[in-house]
């Protein structure tokens, strides 16, 4: 879904600020929120796609203002609230996302592919800046759980994932820096032949 989280190419955030000798965690609560979030998904209360989609559904001001671990905290709180304050372990048992699938990959390395104008109201891992764009398949990664359904309790539906390279000018037009490209990992459902 469109939202604050899908920020590739946005011009809203001008300066990258780095910190010298940065600590892993900036406060005790960050460290504990990190471990607690992993404990919640690790116990199978939710899968990683639900976790990410709950982050995407946070209030945009909280998304920015609460920071990275604040978003994690907000995601777990939201999922618990939506489960009527119940914590239910064991709903998901396989923490890995790779799946062996029999389907023959539809595309091969070097194929030209076009991304669909795929913009569902729910979760997706097709970033907005590569919708409706033409690229070239660089790598095949085998089968993986499909986030668009897995985030909504609609099954794993594993699919082939491809690394697809898009030239800068295809993404950004005349504005692109010369000699640049972005390679994005995309599920087969997002792609069609040209």
């Amino acid at each position: 879904m469109d939202g604050i989280h899908d920020m590739g190419g946005s011009r809203d955030f001008p300066a990258v600020l780095t910190e010298r000798d940065e600590a892993v965690f900036h406060a005790e609560w960050e460290a504990r929120a990190f471990v607690l979030s992993n404990a919640y998904t690790g116990a199978g209360c939710a899968n990683v796609d639900q976790f990410r989609h709950a982050i995407e559904r946070l209030d945009p001001a909280a998304y920015i203002g609460d920071g990275y671990f604040g978003r994690w905290l907000g995601s777990i709180e939201l999922m618990i609230a939506e489960a009527n304050d119940q914590v239910i372990p064991g709903r998901y048992s396989d923490l890995s996302a790779a799946r062996k699938i029999d389907a023959v990959p539809r595309f091969g390395v070097g194929d030209t592919v076009r991304t669909k104008n795929h913009n569902p109201p729910g979760h997706t891992r097709l970033p907005g800046y590569v919708r409706n764009r033409t690229g070239r398949v660089e790598l095949l990664h085998g089968g993986w759980v499909y986030p668009d359904t897995h985030a909504h309790h609609e099954g794993e539906n594993p699919e082939h994932v491809y690394s697809v390279r898009f030239d800068g000018d295809e993404l950004w037009g005349a504005d692109a820096e010369p000699g640049t490209s972005v390679t994005v990992d995309l599920f087969e459902s997002y792609l069609e032949p040209t």
Binding site: V16, W29, L36, E77, Y129, E177, V184
Partner: protein, 206 residues
């Protein structure tokens, strides 16, 4: 109480009242009560991420690739297996792809949709990697962002940005500085920085 002590105390006080700290305490009480984790286990895991899981792991991988051509070939062919040879793996490292920087091609890693990062080899990401500015800009204007990091690339060096939008995680194999000929693996590992393995820096010999 001296002025400094007073100041420090105020800081602690502020920290205690950060609403996120209070919310975290509430979540910890709930998950401990439900038997998902213990407070002691939380401390142990925090310590692991503060001390053991970090860019030193990635540096070992890079130094070995620089000194062992067969290992380098295996690493570029199947990153996950070659990294596992060194006993390195875990969450956010289910499938690893290693991309090699050369004089002609410079690779740099991002996750625009959240902040996916190869924890087993690099630890948890620095704040700037998770920041909206990096996530939004590195795909649109990578040369400009890299210049802000102090890395100016030749116009004829191709820049490849990798947006880790699925579960595959990337590690950059930086170029070995020419002046390190003859250095052993351990000395080389000391030179390898986190930023070079993300692709926002090069490695200079000391």
């Amino acid at each position: 109480m001296s002025h400094d002590e007073n100041h420090e105390h105020e800081h602690e006080h502020e920290h205690e009242h950060d609403p996120r700290a209070i919310r975290t305490e509430a979540l910890e009480r709930l998950l401990v009560e439900q038997g998902l984790i213990t407070s002691a286990a939380i401390d142990t895991i925090i310590e692991r991420y503060e001390t053991d899981v970090g860019p030193l792991n990635g540096a070992r991988v890079v130094a070995k690739a620089w000194t062992d051509p067969d290992y380098r070939a295996r690493l570029l062919e199947d990153g996950t297996a070659a990294i596992a040879e060194l006993g390195i793996g875990g969450p956010q490292g289910e499938k690893m792809v290693v991309v090699e920087n050369t004089p002609d091609v410079h690779n740099v890693i991002v996750c625009t949709l959240c902040s996916c990062y190869p924890w087993p080899v690099l630890g948890l990401p620095p704040a700037w990697y998770k920041d909206p500015a990096y996530r939004s800009r590195i795909v649109r204007e990578p040369r400009k962002v890299l210049r802000e990091f102090g890395l100016t690339l030749d116009d004829d060096t191709e820049v490849r940005v990798w947006d880790s939008s699925a579960e595959i995680r990337y590690l950059v194999l930086p170029e070995r500085p020419a002046s390190t000929l003859g250095a052993d693996e351990e000395a080389l590992a000391d030179l390898v920085t986190r930023d070079a393995m993300i692709g926002v820096a090069r490695i200079d010999a000391r």
